[in-house]
Protein backbone atom coordinates (compact mmCIF):
# COMPACT_ATOMS: atom_id res chain seq x y z
CA UNK A 1 0.00 0.00 0.00
CA UNK A 2 1.67 3.24 -1.06
CA UNK A 3 1.46 6.02 1.49
CA UNK A 4 -0.78 8.98 0.63
CA UNK A 5 -0.84 12.45 2.05
CA UNK A 6 -2.97 15.54 1.84
CA UNK A 7 -2.14 18.07 -0.82
CA UNK A 8 -2.59 21.80 -0.39
CA UNK A 9 -3.20 23.77 -3.56
CA UNK A 10 -4.17 27.26 -4.54
CA UNK A 11 -7.21 27.96 -6.61
CA UNK A 12 -7.10 31.51 -7.84
CA UNK A 13 -6.77 34.46 -7.42
CA UNK A 14 -6.44 34.37 -11.21
CA UNK A 15 -8.92 31.65 -11.97
CA UNK A 16 -11.84 32.17 -14.34
CA UNK A 17 -14.32 30.27 -12.21
CA UNK A 18 -13.71 32.24 -9.03
CA UNK A 19 -15.55 35.18 -10.63
CA UNK A 20 -12.93 37.76 -9.91
CA UNK A 21 -9.93 37.64 -7.66
CA UNK A 22 -10.91 35.15 -5.01
CA UNK A 23 -8.17 32.87 -3.75
CA UNK A 24 -9.15 29.53 -2.31
CA UNK A 25 -6.70 27.32 -0.47
CA UNK A 26 -7.82 23.74 -0.91
CA UNK A 27 -6.65 20.76 1.10
CA UNK A 28 -7.14 17.74 -1.09
CA UNK A 29 -7.29 14.06 -0.37
CA UNK A 30 -7.08 12.76 -3.88
CA UNK A 31 -9.77 14.74 -5.61
CA UNK A 32 -11.87 15.21 -2.50
CA UNK A 33 -11.73 18.52 -0.69
CA UNK A 34 -11.10 18.14 3.01
CA UNK A 35 -10.79 21.82 3.85
CA UNK A 36 -11.40 25.08 2.04
CA UNK A 37 -10.05 28.47 3.08
CA UNK A 38 -11.14 31.52 1.13
CA UNK A 39 -8.59 34.32 1.04
CA UNK A 40 -10.10 37.64 0.14
CA UNK A 41 -8.88 41.20 -0.16
CA UNK A 42 -7.30 41.30 -3.59
CA UNK A 43 -9.77 43.91 -4.76
CA UNK A 44 -9.79 46.06 -1.65
CA UNK A 45 -10.18 49.72 -2.50
CA UNK A 46 -11.15 51.11 0.87
CA UNK A 47 -14.57 52.28 -0.25
CA UNK A 48 -15.94 52.58 3.28
CA UNK A 49 -13.01 54.76 4.29
CA UNK A 50 -13.36 56.85 1.13
CA UNK A 51 -16.89 57.73 2.19
CA UNK A 52 -15.62 59.45 5.31
CA UNK A 53 -13.93 62.06 3.15
CA UNK A 54 -16.75 62.71 0.72
CA UNK A 55 -20.03 64.56 0.97
CA UNK A 56 -23.13 62.41 0.82
CA UNK A 57 -23.89 63.33 -2.78
CA UNK A 58 -20.31 62.75 -3.90
CA UNK A 59 -20.22 59.20 -2.61
CA UNK A 60 -23.02 58.02 -4.90
CA UNK A 61 -20.88 57.20 -7.98
CA UNK A 62 -18.54 55.17 -5.77
CA UNK A 63 -21.37 52.81 -4.78
CA UNK A 64 -21.57 51.69 -8.43
CA UNK A 65 -18.30 49.96 -7.86
CA UNK A 66 -19.48 47.56 -5.18
CA UNK A 67 -21.54 45.04 -7.08
CA UNK A 68 -20.74 46.22 -10.56
CA UNK A 69 -23.18 43.79 -12.15
CA UNK A 70 -26.10 45.48 -10.45
CA UNK A 71 -24.91 49.03 -9.90
CA UNK A 72 -28.48 50.30 -9.79
CA UNK A 73 -29.28 48.24 -6.69
CA UNK A 74 -26.30 49.71 -4.88
CA UNK A 75 -27.40 53.22 -5.80
CA UNK A 76 -30.87 52.50 -4.48
CA UNK A 77 -29.69 51.08 -1.16
CA UNK A 78 -27.41 54.07 -0.57
CA UNK A 79 -30.06 56.61 -1.53
CA UNK A 80 -32.62 54.92 0.72
CA UNK A 81 -30.19 55.02 3.63
CA UNK A 82 -29.44 58.71 3.20
CA UNK A 83 -33.12 59.51 2.69
CA UNK A 84 -33.90 57.69 5.90
CA UNK A 85 -31.22 59.72 7.64
CA UNK A 86 -32.72 62.95 6.35
CA UNK A 87 -36.33 61.87 6.73
CA UNK A 88 -36.90 62.70 3.10
CA UNK A 89 -40.08 61.65 1.32
CA UNK A 90 -39.53 60.44 -2.24
CA UNK A 91 -42.26 61.15 -4.83
CA UNK A 92 -44.28 58.16 -6.02
CA UNK A 93 -43.18 58.56 -9.61
CA UNK A 94 -39.54 58.30 -8.65
CA UNK A 95 -40.23 55.24 -6.52
CA UNK A 96 -41.91 53.44 -9.38
CA UNK A 97 -39.08 54.17 -11.78
CA UNK A 98 -36.63 53.06 -9.10
CA UNK A 99 -38.45 49.74 -8.77
CA UNK A 100 -38.44 49.22 -12.53
CA UNK A 101 -34.73 49.90 -12.85
CA UNK A 102 -33.70 47.81 -9.84
CA UNK A 103 -35.78 44.85 -10.97
CA UNK A 104 -34.14 45.12 -14.38
CA UNK A 105 -30.81 45.11 -12.61
CA UNK A 106 -31.83 41.94 -10.82
CA UNK A 107 -32.56 40.34 -14.18
CA UNK A 108 -29.27 41.60 -15.63
CA UNK A 109 -27.32 40.30 -12.65
CA UNK A 110 -29.02 36.90 -12.82
CA UNK A 111 -28.32 36.76 -16.55
CA UNK A 112 -24.62 37.22 -15.96
CA UNK A 113 -24.88 34.60 -13.23
CA UNK A 114 -26.59 31.99 -15.43
CA UNK A 115 -24.14 32.70 -18.23
CA UNK A 116 -20.99 32.33 -16.16
CA UNK A 117 -22.32 29.58 -13.92
CA UNK A 118 -23.26 27.43 -16.90
CA UNK A 119 -19.95 28.28 -18.54
CA UNK A 120 -18.06 27.07 -15.46
CA UNK A 121 -19.92 23.81 -15.54
CA UNK A 122 -19.32 23.39 -19.25
CA UNK A 123 -22.39 24.71 -21.07
CA UNK A 124 -21.32 27.46 -23.42
CA UNK A 125 -24.56 28.31 -25.21
CA UNK A 126 -26.57 29.88 -22.34
CA UNK A 127 -23.74 32.37 -21.87
CA UNK A 128 -24.25 33.76 -25.37
CA UNK A 129 -28.03 33.86 -25.06
CA UNK A 130 -27.99 35.47 -21.62
CA UNK A 131 -25.61 38.22 -22.69
CA UNK A 132 -27.83 38.97 -25.65
CA UNK A 133 -30.75 39.77 -23.34
CA UNK A 134 -28.55 41.63 -20.90
CA UNK A 135 -27.61 43.94 -23.74
CA UNK A 136 -31.25 45.05 -24.02
CA UNK A 137 -31.29 45.96 -20.33
CA UNK A 138 -28.07 47.92 -20.67
CA UNK A 139 -29.65 49.78 -23.59
CA UNK A 140 -32.51 50.76 -21.31
CA UNK A 141 -30.02 52.07 -18.74
CA UNK A 142 -28.20 54.00 -21.40
CA UNK A 143 -31.45 55.56 -22.50
CA UNK A 144 -32.38 56.55 -18.96
CA UNK A 145 -29.14 57.74 -17.42
CA UNK A 146 -26.52 57.69 -20.18
CA UNK A 147 -24.34 54.96 -18.84
CA UNK A 148 -24.42 51.22 -19.21
CA UNK A 149 -22.48 49.68 -16.35
CA UNK A 150 -21.60 52.27 -13.72
CA UNK A 151 -24.95 53.92 -13.79
CA UNK A 152 -25.12 56.49 -10.95
CA UNK A 153 -28.78 56.17 -11.71
CA UNK A 154 -30.56 57.86 -8.80
CA UNK A 155 -30.10 60.94 -6.69
CA UNK A 156 -30.77 61.50 -3.03
CA UNK A 157 -34.45 62.40 -3.08
CA UNK A 158 -35.41 60.85 -6.41
CA UNK A 159 -34.11 60.64 -9.93
CA UNK A 160 -31.62 62.86 -11.78
CA UNK A 161 -33.98 63.34 -14.73
CA UNK A 162 -37.46 62.35 -15.71
CA UNK A 163 -37.87 59.23 -17.82
CA UNK A 164 -37.05 59.94 -21.46
CA UNK A 165 -39.26 59.45 -24.47
CA UNK A 166 -39.38 55.89 -25.65
CA UNK A 167 -38.42 54.50 -22.25
CA UNK A 168 -41.79 52.96 -21.47
CA UNK A 169 -42.07 51.36 -24.90
CA UNK A 170 -38.60 49.94 -24.67
CA UNK A 171 -39.18 48.40 -21.26
CA UNK A 172 -42.54 47.00 -22.36
CA UNK A 173 -40.97 45.45 -25.41
CA UNK A 174 -38.34 43.81 -23.27
CA UNK A 175 -40.79 42.40 -20.73
CA UNK A 176 -42.87 40.97 -23.54
CA UNK A 177 -40.09 38.91 -25.09
CA UNK A 178 -38.16 38.08 -21.94
CA UNK A 179 -40.25 35.22 -20.42
CA UNK A 180 -39.84 33.29 -23.67
CA UNK A 181 -36.10 33.70 -23.39
CA UNK A 182 -36.10 32.25 -19.88
CA UNK A 183 -37.95 29.23 -21.31
CA UNK A 184 -35.12 28.92 -23.79
CA UNK A 185 -32.45 28.83 -21.08
CA UNK A 186 -34.49 26.32 -19.16
CA UNK A 187 -34.87 24.11 -22.22
CA UNK A 188 -31.10 24.02 -22.43
CA UNK A 189 -30.43 23.34 -18.77
CA UNK A 190 -33.22 22.47 -16.36
CA UNK A 191 -33.63 18.82 -17.29
CA UNK A 192 -30.37 18.27 -19.08
CA UNK A 193 -28.73 15.13 -17.70
CA UNK A 194 -25.24 16.62 -17.48
CA UNK A 195 -26.55 19.69 -15.71
CA UNK A 196 -28.54 17.58 -13.25
CA UNK A 197 -25.58 15.40 -12.37
CA UNK A 198 -23.32 18.36 -11.87
CA UNK A 199 -25.73 20.32 -9.70
CA UNK A 200 -28.12 18.02 -7.84
CA UNK A 201 -27.10 17.13 -4.29
CA UNK A 202 -23.97 19.24 -4.59
CA UNK A 203 -23.15 21.92 -2.04
CA UNK A 204 -26.09 21.25 0.26
CA UNK A 205 -26.85 23.67 3.06
CA UNK A 206 -29.86 23.27 5.32
CA UNK A 207 -32.23 26.11 6.12
CA UNK A 208 -31.03 26.26 9.72
CA UNK A 209 -27.36 26.37 8.75
CA UNK A 210 -28.16 28.93 6.08
CA UNK A 211 -29.69 31.25 8.65
CA UNK A 212 -26.85 30.66 11.09
CA UNK A 213 -24.31 31.52 8.43
CA UNK A 214 -26.34 34.68 7.66
CA UNK A 215 -26.99 33.60 4.14
CA UNK A 216 -29.47 35.81 2.32
CA UNK A 217 -31.11 36.29 -1.04
CA UNK A 218 -31.64 33.53 -3.59
CA UNK A 219 -28.98 31.37 -1.92
CA UNK A 220 -31.05 31.24 1.27
CA UNK A 221 -34.33 30.80 -0.55
CA UNK A 222 -32.81 27.80 -2.31
CA UNK A 223 -32.73 26.13 1.11
CA UNK A 224 -36.45 26.69 1.45
CA UNK A 225 -36.58 29.81 3.64
CA UNK A 226 -39.19 32.23 2.39
CA UNK A 227 -37.32 35.39 3.31
CA UNK A 228 -37.33 38.39 1.04
CA UNK A 229 -36.89 41.97 2.23
CA UNK A 230 -39.17 43.17 -0.52
CA UNK A 231 -41.98 41.35 1.29
CA UNK A 232 -40.73 41.43 4.88
CA UNK A 233 -40.00 45.17 5.06
CA UNK A 234 -41.28 46.65 1.82
CA UNK A 235 -39.35 49.69 0.60
CA UNK A 236 -40.17 51.91 -2.38
CA UNK A 237 -43.53 50.66 -3.66
CA UNK A 238 -43.12 46.91 -3.43
CA UNK A 239 -46.18 46.65 -1.20
CA UNK A 240 -48.31 47.82 -4.13
CA UNK A 241 -47.02 45.19 -6.50
CA UNK A 242 -47.81 41.52 -6.71
CA UNK A 243 -45.15 38.87 -6.93
CA UNK A 244 -44.20 35.50 -5.46
CA UNK A 245 -41.08 34.40 -3.65
CA UNK A 246 -39.77 31.20 -5.22
CA UNK A 247 -38.07 28.70 -2.91
CA UNK A 248 -36.95 25.74 -5.03
CA UNK A 249 -37.50 22.14 -3.94
CA UNK A 250 -36.20 22.63 -0.40
CA UNK A 251 -33.00 20.61 -0.47
CA UNK A 252 -30.61 23.52 -0.61
CA UNK A 253 -28.23 22.26 -3.26
CA UNK A 254 -26.77 24.01 -6.30
CA UNK A 255 -29.74 22.95 -8.40
CA UNK A 256 -32.20 24.55 -5.98
CA UNK A 257 -30.38 27.83 -6.08
CA UNK A 258 -30.48 27.58 -9.85
CA UNK A 259 -34.25 27.01 -9.87
CA UNK A 260 -34.84 29.94 -7.52
CA UNK A 261 -32.91 32.39 -9.64
CA UNK A 262 -34.58 31.25 -12.84
CA UNK A 263 -38.01 31.79 -11.30
CA UNK A 264 -36.90 35.12 -9.85
CA UNK A 265 -36.16 36.40 -13.30
CA UNK A 266 -39.75 35.64 -14.30
CA UNK A 267 -41.09 37.30 -11.15
CA UNK A 268 -38.95 40.39 -11.70
CA UNK A 269 -40.26 40.61 -15.22
CA UNK A 270 -43.79 40.49 -13.79
CA UNK A 271 -42.97 43.28 -11.32
CA UNK A 272 -41.58 45.46 -14.09
CA UNK A 273 -44.71 44.88 -16.17
CA UNK A 274 -46.96 45.96 -13.31
CA UNK A 275 -44.85 48.94 -12.34
CA UNK A 276 -44.50 50.30 -15.84
CA UNK A 277 -48.27 50.27 -16.25
CA UNK A 278 -48.74 52.14 -12.98
CA UNK A 279 -46.15 54.96 -13.15
CA UNK A 280 -48.03 57.95 -11.75
CA UNK A 281 -47.59 61.54 -12.86
CA UNK A 282 -45.80 64.01 -10.66
CA UNK A 283 -42.34 65.10 -9.67
CA UNK A 284 -39.34 62.89 -10.20
CA UNK A 285 -37.37 64.37 -7.31
CA UNK A 286 -38.38 65.64 -3.92
CA UNK A 287 -38.59 69.37 -3.29
CA UNK A 288 -36.45 70.08 -0.27
CA UNK A 289 -34.25 73.12 -0.63
CA UNK A 290 -32.06 72.09 2.27
CA UNK A 291 -31.06 68.71 0.80
CA UNK A 292 -31.90 68.54 -2.88
CA UNK A 293 -30.41 71.07 -5.33
CA UNK A 294 -33.09 73.13 -7.07
CA UNK A 295 -33.92 72.40 -10.73
CA UNK A 296 -31.42 73.71 -13.27
CA UNK A 297 -33.82 76.20 -14.88
CA UNK A 298 -34.33 77.87 -11.52
CA UNK A 299 -30.57 77.98 -10.88
CA UNK A 300 -30.02 79.80 -14.17
CA UNK A 301 -32.59 82.48 -13.49
CA UNK A 302 -33.21 82.83 -9.78
CA UNK A 303 -30.64 84.15 -7.29
CA UNK A 304 -32.17 82.32 -4.30
CA UNK A 305 -31.96 79.02 -6.13
CA UNK A 306 -28.42 79.81 -7.19
CA UNK A 307 -27.38 80.39 -3.60
CA UNK A 308 -28.93 77.10 -2.50
CA UNK A 309 -27.21 75.36 -5.37
CA UNK A 310 -23.81 76.80 -4.45
CA UNK A 311 -24.22 75.87 -0.85
CA UNK A 312 -25.27 72.31 -1.62
CA UNK A 313 -22.45 71.73 -4.07
CA UNK A 314 -19.66 73.30 -2.06
CA UNK A 315 -20.71 72.15 1.39
CA UNK A 316 -23.27 69.45 0.91
CA UNK A 317 -26.10 69.09 3.39
CA UNK A 318 -25.76 68.46 7.08
CA UNK A 319 -28.01 65.65 8.29
CA UNK A 320 -28.94 65.31 11.95
CA UNK A 321 -26.49 63.41 14.13
CA UNK A 322 -27.84 59.87 14.31
CA UNK A 323 -27.38 56.35 13.05
CA UNK A 324 -29.46 54.64 10.41
CA UNK A 325 -29.50 51.31 8.66
CA UNK A 326 -31.39 50.75 5.43
CA UNK A 327 -31.35 47.57 3.43
CA UNK A 328 -32.79 46.27 0.22
CA UNK A 329 -33.12 42.91 -1.45
CA UNK A 330 -30.28 43.18 -3.95
CA UNK A 331 -29.89 40.48 -6.64
CA UNK A 332 -27.41 38.65 -4.44
CA UNK A 333 -29.06 39.08 -1.05
CA UNK A 334 -29.45 41.68 1.65
CA UNK A 335 -27.53 44.83 0.82
CA UNK A 336 -27.50 47.36 3.62
CA UNK A 337 -25.88 50.70 4.36
CA UNK A 338 -25.23 51.66 7.94
CA UNK A 339 -24.49 55.34 8.29
CA UNK A 340 -23.26 57.07 11.42
CA UNK A 341 -23.64 60.80 11.11
CA UNK A 342 -22.08 63.28 13.51
CA UNK A 343 -24.02 66.19 12.09
CA UNK A 344 -21.30 67.27 9.66
CA UNK A 345 -21.52 67.17 5.87
CA UNK A 346 -19.65 63.88 5.63
CA UNK A 347 -20.50 60.49 7.12
CA UNK A 348 -18.61 59.80 10.34
CA UNK A 349 -18.62 56.13 9.49
CA UNK A 350 -20.24 54.19 6.71
CA UNK A 351 -20.51 50.44 6.88
CA UNK A 352 -21.75 48.43 3.95
CA UNK A 353 -23.32 45.06 4.60
CA UNK A 354 -22.78 43.33 1.28
CA UNK A 355 -24.52 40.05 0.50
CA UNK A 356 -21.60 38.37 -1.26
CA UNK A 357 -19.34 38.80 1.76
CA UNK A 358 -21.80 37.14 4.12
CA UNK A 359 -22.77 34.49 1.60
CA UNK A 360 -19.22 33.41 0.92
CA UNK A 361 -18.68 32.13 4.45
CA UNK A 362 -21.30 29.43 4.00
CA UNK A 363 -18.89 27.76 1.59
CA UNK A 364 -17.37 26.02 4.62
CA UNK A 365 -20.67 24.24 5.19
CA UNK A 366 -21.39 23.55 1.55
CA UNK A 367 -18.06 21.89 0.93
CA UNK A 368 -18.69 19.29 3.64
CA UNK A 369 -19.50 15.72 2.70
CA UNK A 370 -16.81 14.81 0.20
CA UNK A 371 -17.16 17.46 -2.49
CA UNK A 372 -14.66 17.31 -5.32
CA UNK A 373 -12.65 20.10 -6.89
CA UNK A 374 -15.05 20.35 -9.80
CA UNK A 375 -17.94 20.70 -7.32
CA UNK A 376 -16.22 23.67 -5.71
CA UNK A 377 -16.54 25.43 -9.05
CA UNK A 378 -20.25 24.67 -9.17
CA UNK A 379 -20.72 25.84 -5.58
CA UNK A 380 -18.95 29.15 -6.10
CA UNK A 381 -21.03 29.69 -9.21
CA UNK A 382 -24.25 28.98 -7.34
CA UNK A 383 -23.38 31.46 -4.58
CA UNK A 384 -23.16 34.19 -7.21
CA UNK A 385 -20.44 36.24 -5.57
CA UNK A 386 -18.92 39.43 -6.90
CA UNK A 387 -15.52 40.32 -5.56
CA UNK A 388 -16.05 44.05 -5.89
CA UNK A 389 -18.63 43.64 -3.18
CA UNK A 390 -16.69 41.26 -0.96
CA UNK A 391 -13.53 43.35 -0.74
CA UNK A 392 -15.04 46.84 -1.06
Amino acid sequence: MPETQELTINMGPQHPSTHGVLRLVLNLDGEIITKITPDIGYLHRGIEKLAEDMTYAQFLPVTDRLDYLAAVSNNLAYCLAVEKLLGLEVPKRASYVRVILTELSRIASHLVWIGTHALDIGAYTPFLYAFREREDILDIYELFCGSRLTTTCFRIGGLPQDIPEGFVEKVEKFTKIFPKKVDEYEALLTKNEIWLRRTQFVGIISAEDGINYSLSGPSLRGSGVKWDIRKAEPYCVYDELEFDIPTGRGIGDVYDRYLVRMEEMRQSCKIVQQAIAKIPDGDFIATAAKFVPPPKERVLTDIEALIHHFKLVVEGFKPPAKEVYACIEAPKGELGFYIVSDGSNKPYRLKIRTPSFANLQSIYKMIEGGMMVADAVAIIGSLDIVLGEIDR
Binding site: E135, F144, G146, T152, P160, Q161, P164, K191, N192
Partner: protein
Protein backbone atom coordinates in the same frame (compact mmCIF):
# COMPACT_ATOMS: atom_id res chain seq x y z
CA UNK B 1 -35.83 3.37 -13.59
CA UNK B 2 -32.47 3.52 -15.24
CA UNK B 3 -33.93 3.09 -18.71
CA UNK B 4 -36.38 5.93 -18.03
CA UNK B 5 -33.51 8.20 -17.15
CA UNK B 6 -31.66 7.27 -20.34
CA UNK B 7 -34.72 7.97 -22.46
CA UNK B 8 -35.45 11.29 -20.75
CA UNK B 9 -31.85 12.38 -21.08
CA UNK B 10 -31.96 11.67 -24.82
CA UNK B 11 -35.21 13.62 -25.16
CA UNK B 12 -33.76 16.56 -23.23
CA UNK B 13 -30.63 16.40 -25.30
CA UNK B 14 -32.69 16.70 -28.48
CA UNK B 15 -34.79 19.50 -26.96
CA UNK B 16 -31.63 21.47 -26.17
CA UNK B 17 -30.26 20.89 -29.63
CA UNK B 18 -33.49 22.05 -31.21
CA UNK B 19 -33.17 25.40 -29.37
CA UNK B 20 -29.69 25.94 -30.73
CA UNK B 21 -30.80 24.68 -34.14
CA UNK B 22 -33.58 27.27 -34.42
CA UNK B 23 -31.11 29.95 -33.54
CA UNK B 24 -29.43 29.28 -36.86
CA UNK B 25 -32.35 31.09 -38.47
CA UNK B 26 -32.56 34.02 -36.07
CA UNK B 27 -30.88 37.16 -37.40
CA UNK B 28 -27.53 37.84 -35.75
CA UNK B 29 -27.41 40.56 -33.09
CA UNK B 30 -23.65 41.05 -33.16
CA UNK B 31 -22.50 44.52 -34.10
CA UNK B 32 -19.45 44.40 -36.34
CA UNK B 33 -17.53 47.07 -34.45
CA UNK B 34 -15.57 49.10 -35.64
CA UNK B 35 -17.07 48.77 -39.10
CA UNK B 36 -20.56 49.21 -37.71
CA UNK B 37 -21.27 51.64 -34.92
CA UNK B 38 -24.19 52.03 -32.63
CA UNK B 39 -25.75 55.40 -32.00
CA UNK B 40 -25.53 56.37 -28.37
CA UNK B 41 -28.53 57.76 -26.53
CA UNK B 42 -28.99 61.51 -26.13
CA UNK B 43 -28.12 61.26 -22.47
CA UNK B 44 -24.92 59.33 -23.06
CA UNK B 45 -22.19 60.27 -20.59
CA UNK B 46 -19.07 60.43 -22.69
CA UNK B 47 -16.27 62.98 -22.94
CA UNK B 48 -16.97 66.34 -21.31
CA UNK B 49 -17.21 69.48 -23.39
CA UNK B 50 -17.25 73.19 -22.61
CA UNK B 51 -19.70 75.46 -24.38
CA UNK B 52 -19.57 78.99 -25.73
CA UNK B 53 -22.55 81.34 -25.65
CA UNK B 54 -24.37 82.93 -28.61
CA UNK B 55 -21.69 85.61 -28.99
CA UNK B 56 -18.84 83.15 -28.93
CA UNK B 57 -17.71 83.95 -25.38
CA UNK B 58 -16.74 81.19 -23.04
CA UNK B 59 -19.68 80.26 -20.85
CA UNK B 60 -17.46 79.00 -18.06
CA UNK B 61 -16.92 81.65 -15.41
CA UNK B 62 -14.41 79.72 -13.34
CA UNK B 63 -16.58 79.24 -10.28
CA UNK B 64 -14.98 75.82 -9.65
CA UNK B 65 -18.24 74.17 -8.61
CA UNK B 66 -17.59 71.31 -11.00
CA UNK B 67 -14.15 70.72 -9.50
CA UNK B 68 -15.64 70.88 -6.03
CA UNK B 69 -18.30 68.32 -6.84
CA UNK B 70 -16.07 65.85 -8.67
CA UNK B 71 -15.69 62.68 -6.56
CA UNK B 72 -12.30 61.85 -8.02
CA UNK B 73 -10.67 65.28 -8.30
CA UNK B 74 -10.36 65.01 -12.05
CA UNK B 75 -10.87 68.72 -12.76
CA UNK B 76 -8.18 71.36 -12.22
CA UNK B 77 -9.00 75.00 -12.76
CA UNK B 78 -6.69 78.00 -12.48
CA UNK B 79 -8.29 81.43 -12.53
CA UNK B 80 -6.79 84.87 -12.57
CA UNK B 81 -7.60 88.50 -13.25
CA UNK B 82 -8.53 89.33 -16.80
CA UNK B 83 -9.56 92.48 -18.61
CA UNK B 84 -11.92 94.98 -16.95
CA UNK B 85 -11.53 93.45 -13.50
CA UNK B 86 -13.19 90.31 -14.82
CA UNK B 87 -12.30 86.89 -13.58
CA UNK B 88 -10.56 84.87 -16.23
CA UNK B 89 -10.18 81.12 -16.55
CA UNK B 90 -6.48 80.64 -17.25
CA UNK B 91 -6.50 76.89 -17.49
CA UNK B 92 -9.16 74.22 -17.28
CA UNK B 93 -8.04 70.61 -17.30
CA UNK B 94 -9.97 67.38 -17.04
CA UNK B 95 -7.94 64.26 -16.50
CA UNK B 96 -10.18 61.66 -18.10
CA UNK B 97 -7.99 58.86 -16.84
CA UNK B 98 -9.37 59.72 -13.39
CA UNK B 99 -12.86 60.65 -14.53
CA UNK B 100 -15.68 58.29 -13.60
CA UNK B 101 -18.06 59.77 -16.20
CA UNK B 102 -20.60 60.16 -13.44
CA UNK B 103 -21.95 63.47 -14.68
CA UNK B 104 -22.01 65.18 -11.29
CA UNK B 105 -19.87 68.05 -12.62
CA UNK B 106 -22.43 68.73 -15.33
CA UNK B 107 -25.20 68.89 -12.75
CA UNK B 108 -23.09 71.18 -10.57
CA UNK B 109 -22.33 73.75 -13.26
CA UNK B 110 -24.53 76.81 -12.67
CA UNK B 111 -23.84 78.28 -16.11
CA UNK B 112 -24.64 75.25 -18.28
CA UNK B 113 -21.07 75.50 -19.53
CA UNK B 114 -20.15 71.89 -19.06
CA UNK B 115 -21.91 69.07 -20.87
CA UNK B 116 -21.20 65.52 -21.88
CA UNK B 117 -20.92 64.27 -25.43
CA UNK B 118 -21.51 60.87 -26.96
CA UNK B 119 -17.79 60.43 -27.55
CA UNK B 120 -16.54 57.16 -26.09
CA UNK B 121 -13.44 56.21 -28.07
CA UNK B 122 -10.94 57.94 -25.84
CA UNK B 123 -7.98 55.58 -25.84
CA UNK B 124 -4.59 57.05 -26.62
CA UNK B 125 -0.95 56.09 -26.44
CA UNK B 126 0.27 58.13 -23.51
CA UNK B 127 -0.89 59.58 -20.26
CA UNK B 128 -0.58 63.17 -21.48
CA UNK B 129 -3.21 62.49 -24.12
CA UNK B 130 -5.70 61.71 -21.35
CA UNK B 131 -5.57 65.24 -20.01
CA UNK B 132 -7.94 67.49 -21.90
CA UNK B 133 -7.16 71.16 -21.67
CA UNK B 134 -9.35 74.14 -22.52
CA UNK B 135 -8.49 73.90 -26.22
CA UNK B 136 -9.52 70.27 -26.38
CA UNK B 137 -12.69 70.81 -24.40
CA UNK B 138 -13.98 73.69 -26.52
CA UNK B 139 -13.88 71.71 -29.74
CA UNK B 140 -14.94 68.19 -30.61
CA UNK B 141 -12.10 65.79 -29.98
CA UNK B 142 -10.15 64.32 -32.86
CA UNK B 143 -11.03 60.68 -33.01
CA UNK B 144 -9.16 58.29 -35.25
CA UNK B 145 -11.86 56.41 -37.06
CA UNK B 146 -11.38 52.95 -38.42
CA UNK B 147 -10.94 53.01 -42.19
CA UNK B 148 -11.25 50.04 -44.41
Amino acid sequence: MKINRVISSIIEFIRGLSVTFWHLFVPSVTLQYPRQRWTVSDRYRGLERLAVDEEGRERCVGCCLCAQMCPSNAIKIVTGEGKDYNKEVISFEIDIARCLFCGLCVEACPKNALSMTGEYELACYNRAGMIYTKEGLYKSPDVTRYKK
